[in-house]
């Protein structure tokens, strides 16, 4: 069995850094196997509370960036409950069980051009690594970062000076007042960008999809569905996605995503924190 190449690692990662980043924590984990394999858009799944924890389910985080040479994986964590709170309190030198890299990452368009990268809240975490890869492949990068308020923005200072950066906040406390999707039509018209990447809440992703499609741009979205396992066995993180055959299936965002071609997601089924099974979905209840 030794040497089997499975493309994924389970490891006990040592915490190499835990720093504040706006309202979030920016963690650096020693996980060389994952750092060497990961691509932008993939994620990692962490246990919380140690081996006897009463919180059994893994918490999944989009990878902020990796340093293959240093063997480190970086994530951005929002304290949203007892599990993520435990992770935000990890000190340097402590250990955490980590699995990754998981899921399908972003794909690059065939021909270079302008690319628009949109992050809502800490959904921007994977976008700067993606920007680096796109820039190395000849793309011009236009970032749009948005959040409810200035303290919920992540990474405005991480954008490369060569890239354009637009910031929006709902309350106007930083950048333009409004939603992250507001500048998008003008930006797409001005730049002629045909590649859009977005990560954030479902409502934002749906708005981005509609605007991108109306401007003839192809959008890839990173969805955030509640996951129990992160590895494709629990079937909880599904959403309805149209396949190449035109058939809608309840697809696992952990293995078929988390990055989806935005037009394949059945946004019509998403509402109010729930996702319904479309009547035309394969195997839908009759």
């Amino acid at each position: 069995m030794t040497g089997r190449d499975t493309g994924v690692c389970q490891a006990t990662a040592r915490v190499a850094g835990n720093a504040p980043a706006a309202a979030y924590r920016h963690l650096t984990l020693d996980a060389p196997g994952i750092a060497q394999l990961a691509q932008p858009g993939q994620f990692v799944a962490l246990t919380v509370g140690g081996p006897t924890s009463a919180l059994l389910l893994r918490r999944s985080f989009s990878i902020h960036r990796v340093d293959p040479a240093a063997g480190t994986v970086e994530i951005v964590v929002s304290d949203a409950g007892p599990g993520t709170a435990w992770i935000t309190r990890l000190d340097d030198g402590e250990s955490v069980d980590i699995v990754g890299p998981l899921g399908r990452g972003f794909t690059l368009p065939d021909a270079p051009g302008a690319a628009v990268l949109i992050g809502g809240g800490y959904g921007s975490a994977p976008m700067f690594w993606l920007a680096n890869v796109l820039r190395e492949n000849g793309f011009a990068i236009h970032h749009v970062l948005g959040a409810a308020s200035a303290d919920r923005l992540f990474g405005a200072e991480l954008a490369d000076p060569a890239d354009e950066l637009i910031v929006t906040t709902d309350d106007g406390s930083q950048g333009e007042r409004g939603w992250v999707s507001d500048p998008l039509p003008g930006l797409l018209e001005r730049t002629g960008a045909k590649a859009v990447y977005a990560c954030g809440p479902m409502g934002m992703l749906r708005a981005v999809t509609e605007i991108a499609t109306a401007h003839g741009a192809r959008a890839e979205v990173a969805v955030e569905e509640a996951m129990a396992c992160g590895i494709g066995v629990c079937m909880t993180c599904v959403l309805p996605v149209v396949g190449a055959d035109g058939v809608t299936r309840m697809s696992r965002s952990c293995v078929d995503g988390p990055i989806f071609d935005a037009t394949t997601v059945r946004w019509d089924a998403v509402a109010g924190g729930r996702v319904a099974v479309p009547a035309d979905c394969l195997g839908a209840p009759r």
Binding site: T2, R4, T6, Q10, A54, L55, L56, L57, T236, A276
Partner: protein, 342 residues
């Protein structure tokens, strides 16, 4: 081959050379005895619905090294399952409301079973249906599969809680339990054991166990999840899209031990026919597996713990083996129901 039982890093390109298929170097015999037609090299299995159909988990350990791999319950036709949210975390457990999402038996036979065979897994195929006739049809199509020789047993899931009509939980009623098994048994060649999976959500599980055995089950898998509800106190509505869900995880382990204990005790007393029990419910460690064994289980399934630790089935096998080694117990199967003697 070097055998290192101490490591728990069962993953990626660092999968250790652990062979769970043979008697181990310390002399502990882990062989599981589930009747004349089901002898397994070790007692650890996956629990249905907690390991998909093998490919995903195989990235974390060799599924052929498990005593058996139990598949996700398959029905006749493709099933979308329910909308989301499909799960809620609960203290030491979780609620799930998947709704038996799956490809249907024909796609299972075409894609999943050949894969399980190709990696050398001993497959226990879990079947489900909305009627006893559907159970029988699923069994018939499974038996007709070219790769049926990879099937070590069939688990008949008469206790899935995630069905629209609670009246469809066959294992809540003795006559319905007998009815499903009676239709499935003639479809399956002798030599392929039928395991009836039971729910603890009944007034008395012993008559249900007796009814399943009377219908033709050769063994029993206990327990399925318990029915629960979680209410979102912010939105003031049920959290799960399907309202109710199945409770699993270490929180329900004492219920599993109780159910296994009661049924095994009835068998020992001669009140119902003796048959092997596959124990499942909240097993996270080798010690948990030992507890279910002492209550009367002849083999052990690991379910929700996989979500926490994808290498849990292999780790539990190692921990169980080490536990027996430390205690100087040479044979696992000697411990089945041992707590009833003391």
């Amino acid at each position: 081959m070097s055998v290192d039982w101490s490591t728990s890093d069962v993953a990626g390109d660092d999968v250790p050379a652990v062979d769970l298929t043979t008697v181990d170097v310390t002399g502990v015999d882990l062989t599981a005895d589930l009747g004349p037609n089901l002898q397994l090299p070790n007692p650890l299995m996956t629990a249905s619905g907690c390991a998909a159909n093998g490919k995903e988990l195989h990235r974390f350990g060799d599924v052929a090294q498990l005593g058996a791999f139990v598949t996700k319950s398959v029905k006749r036709d493709p099933q979308s399952g329910r909308g989301t949210p499909r799960m809620a975390e609960t203290p030491s457990g979780m609620l799930n409301s998947i709704g038996l999402q799956g490809p249907g038996i024909d796609a299972f036979v075409e894609h999943d079973l050949p894969w399980l065979k190709s990696v050398g897994a001993r497959a226990i195929v879990s079947i489900a249906g909305a009627s006893s006739g559907e159970f029988a049809e699923v069994a018939r199509r499974l038996v007709a599969a070219p790769d049926f020789d990879a099937v070590a047993a069939i688990e008949v899931n008469i206790s899935c809680p995630n069905v629209a009509n609670r009246g469809l939980v066959f294992a809540c009623d003795p006559a319905s339990s007998t009815g499903v098994l009676r239709l499935v048994a003639p479809e399956v060649p002798s030599g392929i054991p039928l395991l009836a999976k039971l729910t603890p959500d009944v007034t008395d599980i012993v008559p249900i166990a007796e009814a399943a055995l009377a219908g033709g089950a050769h063994g029993l898998t206990m327990i399925n999840t318990l029915l629960g509800i979680h209410i979102d106190t912010e939105r003031m509505r049920p959290h799960l899209f399907g309202t109710t869900g199945g409770l699993s995880g270490p929180a329900i382990r004492p219920v599993a031990v109780r159910a296994i204990w009661q049924v095994h005790a009835a068998m020992r007393a001669g009140r119902i026919p003796a048959a092997p029990i596959v124990g499942v419910g909240g097993v996270r460690t080798g010690q948990d597996a030992l507890e279910l064994t002492l209550a009367g289980a002849s083999a052990i399934q690991v379910g929700t713990a996989i979500f926490n630790d994808p290498s849990a089935p292999w780790r539990v096998a190692r921990e169980l083996r080490d536990l027996l080694g430390q205690r100087g117990i040479p044979r696992y199967r000697d411990l089945v129901g041992a707590a009833h003697q003391n």
